[in-house]
């Protein structure tokens, strides 16, 4: 069995280096520093990291190595998690004086845990790869029965009619994926942006000005907060609200500017299950 202490692995994004003011080195090392609490994610300029990555990919392209889909996918996942993590960190925390602060802190830890989990499975995948390589160097003895023993074999009993045999063939020859029952509809988001939008509009019928914090007070999960945020963006697009933030990282105040009684519909474009992000993979 492989050494399990070897948590620090080879770089997963070979050759990709990040050049920041406070850090200069392989992307993987940056991740490790963050995941070991040696570096604060809020100190990382993600835009610079992204720029670096894009130029890294361009360079590969120019060198004729083509578009590295594996690398790009991996980068997107890690960068998205870092962004989530950073967003959670940047939200005001300070003293924990109410429930919503606590929820934000938890959300931050959860994102952190998710990053760790993501990386753990990458380590395991590397072990799988090595194991497969080793196993492939061993060949099984697969031999026919020695001639004098074949005579001892009992007569074969197929035990089925030609019709049953044909049915078996049909099943064995059928393309497998058609047997998979789609259950995508069962996993539709439990939170609907459109519905949360309706709820916000109801709130504005009572008060014309509210902070984002107030709007999210009754939210019982991070997902609801996200849905309400998206609904607000939709309403902004409709031109019926405006945002105001007096100090950086301060409370966001939302003002209703729409006409009384105007019928507003929050679109449900965010509620469609994501099915377009496919991993480019056929092996």
């Amino acid at each position: 069995m492989e050494s399990q202490s070897a948590v620090i692995s080879e770089p997963r994004l070979p050759g990709f280096r990040v050049h920041l003011e406070n850090f200069d080195g392989p992307f993987d090392l940056l991740l490790q520093l963050i995941s070991k609490h040696k570096m604060d994610v809020t100190d990382v300029a993600l835009s610079v990291v992204t720029d670096d990555f894009i130029s890294h990919i361009r360079l590969l392209e120019e060198e004729g190595k083509g578009w590295q889909l594996d690398q790009a996918t991996e980068f997107l996942v890690v960068a998205a998690t870092l962004l989530d993590l950073k967003a959670a960190r940047l939200l005001p925390s300070g003293e924990i004086d109410d429930e919503s602060d606590l929820a934000l802190l938890e959300a931050r830890d959860l994102l952190f845990a998710r990053l760790l989990q993501y990386r753990a499975f990458k380590e395991i995948a590397a072990i799988f790869e090595k194991r497969i390589e080793v196993a492939e160097r061993s060949f099984a003895r697969v031999v026919s029965l020695e001639a004098h023993l074949v005579d001892l074999l009992p007569e074969v009993i197929l035990g089925l009619s030609p019709e049953r045999f044909a049915a078996l063939a049909e099943r064995a020859l059928a393309p497998r994926d058609e047997l998979t029952l789609s259950v995508a509809h069962i996993h539709v988001p439990l939170v609907s942006v459109a519905e949360e939008g309706e709820r916000i509009i109801e709130l504005f019928k009572v008060r014309k000005t509210m902070t984002f914090r107030t709007i999210c007070q009754s939210a019982d999960s991070t997902l609801v907060i996200v849905a309400r945020f998206l609904a607000l963006l939709e309403l902004f697009k409709e031109g019926v609200i405006r945002f105001e933030q007096l100090v950086a990282l301060g409370d966001i105040t939302v003002h209703w500017t729409g006409a009384e009684g105007r019928k507003i519909k929050v679109s449900d474009e965010f509620d469609t299950p994501v099915s377009t992000l496919e991993e480019g993979d056929n092996g």
Binding site: R114, F121, K122, I124, R131, V142, V183, H187, L223, E278
Partner: protein, 185 residues
């Protein structure tokens, strides 16, 4: 039956089988208690290794059989037209890792952990015989997936218990998984 006789009989039977054979069947044929027989198999396997033989006796996916020693792979490869399918991609390996440690697991859950849609990759793993449908999740009706015996074979493992511990890579991953699922499902 004395030990030498048992060893000889085991070697003779193992020489004619075309698929792995379980210790239970061998114990029945030799009329030897299972525990005793397993001990003989293990010490036999060890002796081949100690003698640096060109072959190994291994228990993989629940059955014993002879394999060529990896040390001589370069020679054997000239005879065996490698029926081994191509290499798995990084994405496939990682998805396989998630399924191996979370089985039985729904596609949605794997997707949540991997952070991307895994539909295509899981189809590939299924076609390659590495994972299979193994049930339905009671609460959601989602199809659950598990690894196959062929998966164990490809990794050269006897059972899932031989998978490396994940704990050193991530403390208390099961607890985390539960909370994370509330975030992502």
């Amino acid at each position: 039956m004395d030990r030498d006789e048992a060893i000889g009989a085991l070697e003779a039977i193992l020489m004619v089988i075309d698929e792995p054979i379980s210790a239970t069947i061998l114990a029945q044929i030799l009329e030897v208690p299972l525990g005793e027989l397993e001990e003989v198999l293990r010490s036999l396997a060890r002796s081949y290794l100690e003698d640096s033989r060109g072959f190994e006796l291994k228990e993989i996916a629940g059955g014993w059989r002879f394999y060529s020693s990896p040390a001589y792979a370069q020679y054997v490869e000239k005879f065996v037209i490698s029926g081994q399918p191509g290499k798995l991609t990084q994405a496939a390996l990682e998805t396989l890792a998630v399924i191996a440690y979370r089985q039985p697991v729904s596609r949605a859950r794997v997707s949540a952990i991997r952070g991307v849609n895994v539909e295509a990759v899981m189809k590939t793993l299924g076609v390659r015989g590495l994972v299979e449908e193994s049930g339905i999740e009671y609460e959601t009706g989602a199809v659950l997936y598990s690894t196959t015996p062929y998966f164990l074979e490809r990794l050269g493992l006897n059972s899932l218990n031989e998978l490396p511990e994940i704990a050193p890579f991530l403390p208390d991953i099961h607890a985390l998984d539960e909370v994370i699922s509330t975030l992502t499902d």
